[in-house]
């Protein structure tokens, strides 16, 4: 009988307002506070508050037998504090039950791991700090943005003190192997890898309310039987937290499903365990991820964010500014730049129109990916000009010159 590890990602980006080319050089508020507030409040009411209360209740009733893991992005925690404090309280209470393990990630839910190790480390440290401050915990297991992981990033994660990483159980990596075991990284052997069982995860995340699915309706007993019948040592179920009540509305019966799940597992002798517990187990072997994988789209690679020319050029332009913006004495500029590193901005620019395109459209505040690109590039234009001005000022004042960095970054 395998154990089960349940993990949920909790994240909301700072969406951009419709920043027009005419706004460049004029106003510097890039973010749509009104939209962000209303979205966060809506999701808080539909998902964060009810789900957190439900899970806290289930953990208490199970006497600590039911366990889950969560990762909350830094930008989510900030927005909850500003717009939906009752939801932040609900998360605190949930964590206080002792049944929840919080995972580490980048504060800004960024793609920095793929391009800028220095920025990556800085954002992971910022995230650790906010977890300490808000929840009084230090994460031991890492979950990078959207489960993005590759061999190259493993040593960096290990060097920051993490013992394990959640990864996608992509077929091209696993091949004949099962995702239901603990593996080791081939580039950082001390680092344990927990591959997601995407079939069982997506049964809940995507197919739960799909009436054309032949397994619909998905009952708790049927699902628990599938898990019980799985091979391996531990089944890793990773989904978006927003699946509960937001992607899958309450009317679909998703909350009832969750409510009955702990008992259905318990009846079959299935134990729920934390990722850090699994990270202490002996791996069955090494797994190599030569190119980065993620949990997104059918490709399960990074093409959801870097799959076309728009995304690549926007991403390049963003990180080209990194050295200069970090060198600025104006921390407000750095903060705004970092909010732009949030992966969602690139996700909105995806031009895949197949099944996954609809998923992209569902999450996007824009009419088209092209509008997303225009707004982002206009903001970048404004930010670059401000960083240049800042550096010019610093140079004139005879302070440390960053002129070379700027020369390299804003061309």
């Amino acid at each position: 009988m395998p154990d089960v590890s349940i993990y949920c990602q909790v994240h909301q980006p700072y969406r951009l307002r419709r920043f027009r080319v005419f706004d460049v050089g004029r106003g510097h508020d890039y973010f749509d506070d009104a939209a962000n507030r209303s979205i966060v409040q809506r999701v808080a009411a539909k998902c964060y508050v009810p789900s957190s209360r439900l899970l806290a209740d289930l953990i208490r009733r199970s006497d600590g037998g039911f366990r889950i893991a969560l990762s909350l992005s830094g930008v989510l925690v900030e927005q909850l504090a500003a717009y939906a404090p009752e939801a932040l309280d609900a998360f605190r209470e949930l964590v206080a039950t002792g049944g929840v393990e919080l995972l580490g990630e980048t504060y800004y839910h960024s793609l920095s791991a793929l391009i800028d190790p220095e920025e990556f480390r800085a954002q992971v440290q910022l995230h650790a700090r906010i977890l300490e401050h808000e929840f009084g915990v230090r994460p031991q297991v890492f979950r990078n943005t959207e489960l993005i992981y590759g061999n190259a990033v493993a040593p960096i994660i290990a060097a920051m003190g993490f013992r394990g990483v959640l990864v996608e159980g992509a077929d091209r990596v696993l091949q004949w192997r099962s995702p239901n075991y603990v593996y080791a990284s081939v580039t950082a052997p001390g680092l344990r890898l927990l591959p997601r069982n995407y079939r069982l995860s997506d049964d809940i995340a995507f197919r739960f309310a799909e009436r054309s699915w032949r397994e619909w309706p998905l009952t708790v007993d049927k699902y628990a039987d599938w898990v019980a019948a799985s091979d391996g040592d531990s089944v890793h179920l990773f989904i978006d937290y927003e699946t509960l009540g937001e992607h899958q509305w309450e009317e679909t019966g998703i909350f009832d499903f969750v409510r009955l799940l702990p008992e259905a597992f318990a009846r079959r002798g299935i134990q729920t365990v934390h990722p850090s517990t699994l990270a202490s187990r002996t791996p069955v072997g090494g797994l190599s991820y030569p190119t980065p994988t993620s949990w997104a789209d059918l490709e399960r690679d990074v093409s959801a964010w870097l799959g076309n020319g728009l995304q690549e050029s926007a991403h390049r332009r963003l990180y080209r500014l990194a050295p200069a913006v970090r060198a600025c004495r104006d921390t407000g500029l750095l903060e705004q730049w970092r909010r732009l590193t949030t992966s969602d901005h690139l996700y909105y620019m995806a031009t895949k129109w197949a099944a996954d395109g609809d998923v992209h459209t569902y999450f996007s505040p824009y009419d088209t990916p092209y509008d997303a690109f225009i707004a982002f590039m206009n903001v970048m234009q404004d930010l670059e000009q401000r960083v240049s001005a800042e550096v010019a000022e610093a140079t004139e004042a005879g302070l440390d010159t960053e002129a070379e960095l700027i020369g390299a970054s804003t061309r």
């Binding site: 419709r18 080319v21 020319g309 088209t368 092209y370 225009i374 206009n378």
Partner: protein, 412 residues
């Protein structure tokens, strides 16, 4: 089939769409007899070779009815149109061989239609917009064959608040008399249901197709402007319906942020003098070029010299211009309420009045080459898909004819 516009007598996309439909129908093996209300003119024939492919000549019968009817513009424009039509016809210079007003002309057209319905063998009657409805209704009465009515634009689309009550009445009667109605967008379907209380079950949405979806040539053509001068294009009648005034206001905003930009207005119409005045007022006289009416290959050429095409139509039942732009590899910004916005994914959308937004989109496409590249590549790929060809709309139209025939058999 009772038509109105047919190349070369065309003022807008409707002629192209009708021609496309007829061509597509002929390719399914259907026989089409097209009755058109324009005067016979010998000079027309060389250009008609466009339609007269070998197979087409056999199957397509054109029955011409002498009449200067024009689909666009209402009763008011008729007087001017009548004189112009007379001038076009050899031997009729300065004379008016036809009736005195538009509705009288429609009566004449209907009388001829009744005759034709008696003599021409047919199974289904089809017609296009209000001006042909009375003729088709008469034919329907005479032959008893099922009546299918296309509606491409309503009187409200053409005239906004200044609708003509008589035209609306005819529109309504034609639509209520039809066994089935074909329109080109969901928006049009909604409008017909709301305005005329037509049973939605009888209304079918068949988007227009393109005759030759892959028009973009591989060989670069000589361009009128230097390479570093981006061109923003407007193609359409210069009338209230097409929103040329929004295009000009947008041009001012774009010129504020994009150096060396040029604007080209292809088309003519009653708003042209006003638009030219406004262009001068805005200090854009040297930046905006007016080509007047342009046809056929020159329209495609206009698309290909443009960096981006903008279609700020106040009312646009479909908007074939968007597809034509895309097939020439030119990114397009379409009015959000245009029918084509329902079917095309790789086009930017804006409200026709949202000048700032359109200007921002235009500036984005000009400034960011990646954006232009992606829009071009995805747009071409999309519009060359068979669903935008002629076969698909023809197939769906034939399905509707067949339903009409089955219904007719049942009711006997």
């Amino acid at each position: 089939m009772f038509g109105w516009e047919f190349p070369p007598y065309q003022a807008g996309g409707l002629a192209t769409a009708t021609l496309g439909l007829v061509k597509g129908l002929l390719q399914t093996g259907l026989q089409v007899t097209l009755v058109v209300p324009f005067p016979i003119d010998g000079r027309v024939l060389p250009e008609l070779r466009l339609v007269s492919t070998a197979g087409l000549r056999v199957a397509l019968r054109r029955v011409r009815v002498p009449s200067p009817l024009t689909p666009y513009g209402g009763v008011g424009e008729y007087a001017a149109g009548r004189a112009a039509a007379a001038r076009r016809i050899p031997g009729t210079r300065g004379t008016t061989p036809y009736g005195v007003d538009l509705f009288h002309e429609i009566e004449r057209f209907s009388d001829v239609a009744a005759e034709i319905a008696e003599t021409e063998p047919h199974d289904v009657i089809d017609c296009h917009d209000w001006i042909t409805y009375p003729a088709a209704q008469r034919a329907h009465e005479v032959s008893g064959r099922p009546l299918v009515a296309h509606i491409h634009a309503t009187e409200r689309d053409r005239s906004g608040a200044g609708e003509n009550a008589e035209i609306r009445r005819r529109e309504r009667e034609g639509l209520l008399a039809a066994d089935h109605i074909i329109c080109n967008s969901l928006r049009m379907r909604r409008q017909v249901v709301e305005s005329y209380k037509v049973d939605p079950a009888r209304i079918h949405v068949v988007p227009w197709g393109l005759d030759d979806p892959s028009a973009a040539p591989d060989v670069p053509e000589p361009q009128p402007f230097p390479d570093d001068e981006p061109v923003v294009l407007f193609v359409g009648r210069v009338t209230r319906q097409k929103g040329p005034e929004y295009f000009i206001e947008m041009a001012r905003r774009v010129a504020d942020v994009v150096p060396h930009v040029r604007f080209v207005v292809v088309g003519t119409g009653d708003l042209l003098p006003q638009i030219i005045d406004r262009t001068v007022e805005l200090g854009l006289a040297e930046r905006v070029h007016f080509t007047g009416g342009v046809s056929g290959p020159d329209v495609d050429r206009a698309f290909r010299m443009a960096t981006v095409c903008v279609m700020p139509s106040v009312s646009e039942p479909f908007g074939l211009v968007a597809l034509e732009s895309l097939r020439n590899g030119t990114p397009v910004i379409v009015a959000r309420n245009a029918g084509v916005a329902e079917v095309v994914r790789n086009a930017l959308r804006a409200d026709f009045w949202d000048i700032e937004r359109m200007a921002d989109q235009v500036a984005g496409i000009i400034r960011y080459h990646e954006l232009h590249r992606e829009l071009r590549a995805h747009g071409l790929e999309e519009v060359t898909h068979p669903r935008f060809g002629l076969a698909e709309p023809a197939r769906r139209t034939v399905d509707i004819y067949q339903r009409a025939l089955v219904g007719a058999v049942r009711s006997h």
